[in-house]
């Protein structure tokens, strides 16, 4: 029989907390592995459903039937589907995403060239979202708490709902029309000589709907948090509004904001497809559109797979971050 002394107790808590973390991390890693496996299978099976013959696309309209057949054999498209899948998986295990038909280059090279553009756009847009949406939502939440300023509350609600419902490509077109064509103050598309400036409009197009969504959630959460007893107490002590908001309200909004931010960042990777096309932004989104147009199976598969894995990774990172911020999320011992 063992006894637990007073000095043993903290150690026991640490062990139980560690096991909770291990189990939490294992669950998330298992989920990530599952997503990757599904993504590999789905991208391989779905991409060949794109209408059209990639061999004809590669050989060109002037190619003879024999030449098309030779190109088909060179591309390995005459092999049974299962053999091609085994080749594909074998290549993936060695870090080989395949070879692009249309660009005559390794898919991994193309992905590595385009990834920084998509990452810069998505993270830039996310920063704008967080920098604008959280203060905006908190300000409106504070101003309208307890049924105050109903007109402001309604105007905020209707406006954010309306703007959030505008599809990114429509918003992108409107932004181009206003800032690039009419006012001529920002470039309408990616420009090699001004990459930073030319990212402003696509980042805005991606971030504006998300700003509205997150600001709405933050407003609601702020209104709830501000009605909590400890914040009434803080106000009773005449703490400054900003100090109260930053020190006592904001930490309580982090869980929902982080969760939403993760979802929105993943959504931005998808939204980048239409926005990158409108702004000729040379990221993965535009890459996959071009690859579909040229029936470049390996490139479509490679980009979609990388986007899927990135999305899953980001979801996992957000989960881990949430686990740190709010131990209840880990689902084990609460410490």
């Amino acid at each position: 029989m063992t006894t637990t002394t007073a000095t043993d107790r903290p150690r026991a808590r640490r062990v139980r907390g560690g096991s909770s973390w291990t189990s939490f991390a294992l669950r998330r890693l298992g989920g990530l592995a599952g997503v990757v496996v599904v993504a590999v299978v789905v991208t391989f099976v779905i991409v060949p459903l794109i209408p059209g013959d990639p061999a004809v696309s590669a050989a060109g309209p002037d190619a003879t039937v024999d030449q098309i057949a030779r190109v088909r054999a060179q591309l390995g498209l005459d092999q049974p589907m299962f053999d091609r899948f085994l080749d594909y998986v074998g290549g993936l295990l060695q870090g080989d995403l395949g070879h692009s038909f249309s660009l005559n280059a390794p898919v991994s090279d193309v992905v590595l060239r385009r990834l920084p553009f998509t990452a810069a756009l998505a993270f830039g847009a996310l920063l704008v979202v967080l920098a604008v949406a959280v203060p905006l939502g908190m300000a409106v939440g504070a101003l309208t708490r307890g049924g105050r300023r109903r007109r402001l509350d309604s105007a905020f609600g209707y406006t954010t709902a309306f703007v959030a419902a505008i599809p990114p490509y429509v918003l992108a077109t409107l932004l181009v029309l206003l800032f690039a064509v009419t006012l001529q103050v920002l470039p309408p598309a990616y420009t090699r000589s001004q990459p930073g400036v030319s990212m402003l409009l696509p980042a805005l197009a991606l971030s504006i709907p998300s700003i509205c969504l997150i600001a709405r959630v933050v407003r609601r959460e702020t209104a709830v948090v501000l009605e909590q007893d400890y914040l009434r107490t803080a106000r009773g002590w005449r703490l400054g509004t900003v100090r109260t908001a930053l020190r006592y309200a904001l930490p309580n909004l982090l869980t929902s904001t982080l969760t939403l931010s993760g979802i929105i960042l993943v959504g931005m990777l998808g939204g980048a497809i239409s926005v990158e096309t409108v702004f000729s932004w040379p990221g993965l989104g535009l890459g996959v559109v071009n690859a579909v147009a040229t029936k470049d199976y390996p490139l479509v598969q490679g980009i979609v797979l990388v986007l899927a894995v990135l999305s899953a990774l980001m979801t996992m990172l957000v989960d881990i971050l949430l686990g740190i911020v709010d131990p209840r999320v880990r689902g084990g011992h609460h410490g």
Binding site: V56, S102, V176, A180, P187, A189, W237, A293
Partner: protein, 541 residues
Amino acid sequence: MTPPSSPPSVRLPGRGRRRRRGTRALAVVTAVVCGSALAACSTSTAGPAETGTVRTVLNSDPSSFDPAQAQGQQTFQVASLLYDTLLRRDSDARLVGGLATDWATESASEFTFTIRDDATCSDGTPITASVVADSLRRLADPATESTWKSLVFGLGDVDVAADDRASTVRISLSEPFTTLPQGLAIPQSGIVCPAGIADAEALEAGSVAGAFSGPYTVQEAQQGLNYTFALREDYAAWPEFSTPLTGEPPRRLEIGVSTDQSTVANQILAGDLDLGQFADPDAVKRFTAQPDLHQYQVISATAYVVFNQREGRPFAGRPDLRRAVAQAINQEAFNAIFTKRTADVLTSVTPASFRCTNTDRSLLPEHDPDAASELLSDVSGVQLIGNTANRQFSGGADYLFAALTEAGAEVNMSKVDNATFWSTIAEGGSDWDIVFLGDLNSVGAISASLDRVIGPSVEDGGRNYSASDNPEGEAALAEGLASTDPEAQCDAFDRAQRTLFERSDIVPLAGSPLTYVTGPDLTVSVFDDYVDLATMRVGAE
């Protein structure tokens, strides 16, 4: 989280008003800063006159940097910048010397070219007769599998002999093919230097520094992103066109990739691009109030109806039915949809700018829907394949479907993407009866379009999609290709076209316009319906 145990400072009277004033001041400052920042983001960057750099976009990546493997108009344009051809196209369907200073058509199958003595490869290697001959032999070699071999040299065997002392290259063909000089002016026949021939894989990737014979070299090639070409300082082999070029060639070309024509139009209007190409008439309309920009419209392809005449198909052996289809179609109505009347309707398979093209409209059946419906109302199960390559082609297919359906025919329309369209009609046994082609004739000779509907079928190694049995037309086409006398050649090609109209093998529709738009500092030369990007000049008068 809990509040601190002791209350902090107490709010002082008047602090709220000051805070509101502060908030307003902050708002004003923010507005001023944002406004200034936006105003500072001037989009008007320096143009080619100041920088010597031309910025443009392609709508797809080059399929290859090997001219013999080039596919698609954009890749041909890239090849024309990097590789010189023996001859170059000039106005009024004439040819001028490129790498050749002189040439002689000794017979329909014997040609001699004299090579200029001042041309060099991008690594400094002199371009001798042997260098030219090696490149042409490679193009003709079946092992190269170039789809352009038959367009340049014809279907027969090719013998290329070089004489470096006399600086001549002699080409002998086993079958007469008098359009060889035109074929040697297309970018796909561009001369590849020895360094490129030695490394085929690197040649395709554009990474052989010494492979280029043209005015530009590849400085940077980031597939899928952008390309940079640099003007060769030692290049001196500029052709002497009938109208001499003025201004300076751009020193640097920055080429991006963009599929969206509206975006490209926005960039040109904002001064971020110096050259764009537009197939969409609506995009071109945006430049009408821009007098500083230059516009060059060419007919880049031709649209005409082709019937599947293979055994068992409804239009096989039925010229009356094919004629009825022609009567059901209103060319002008098609043109209104296809080009928004920005191009002319056709009277043959090529635009009127091509030599030997029929211009006699009386050879074509008049639009007569009543006569058409008398025959077509009994026709069922017609498979119409429409190409969705762009809005124009999709709209044209819709028009054809409507015209045939109104005439009483039972038509099934399948709209497919560009690659599926070509793969469907390139397979002899596939399920289609009627299509309209967008025929891109890169050679500039009518024979290269006539063989789409006359002669050996695609399944027999030819280029005839319809598989029509037209011995009279085939003989006339062969006669034209064997004739060295321009008048006799045109007479033969004219007879070949007449057989098409008599048999109702085709229904000419309209030209497919492509408009090049350049910035104020940049010009480019247009030869008939061909834009030669190697003639881009900055600061031309």
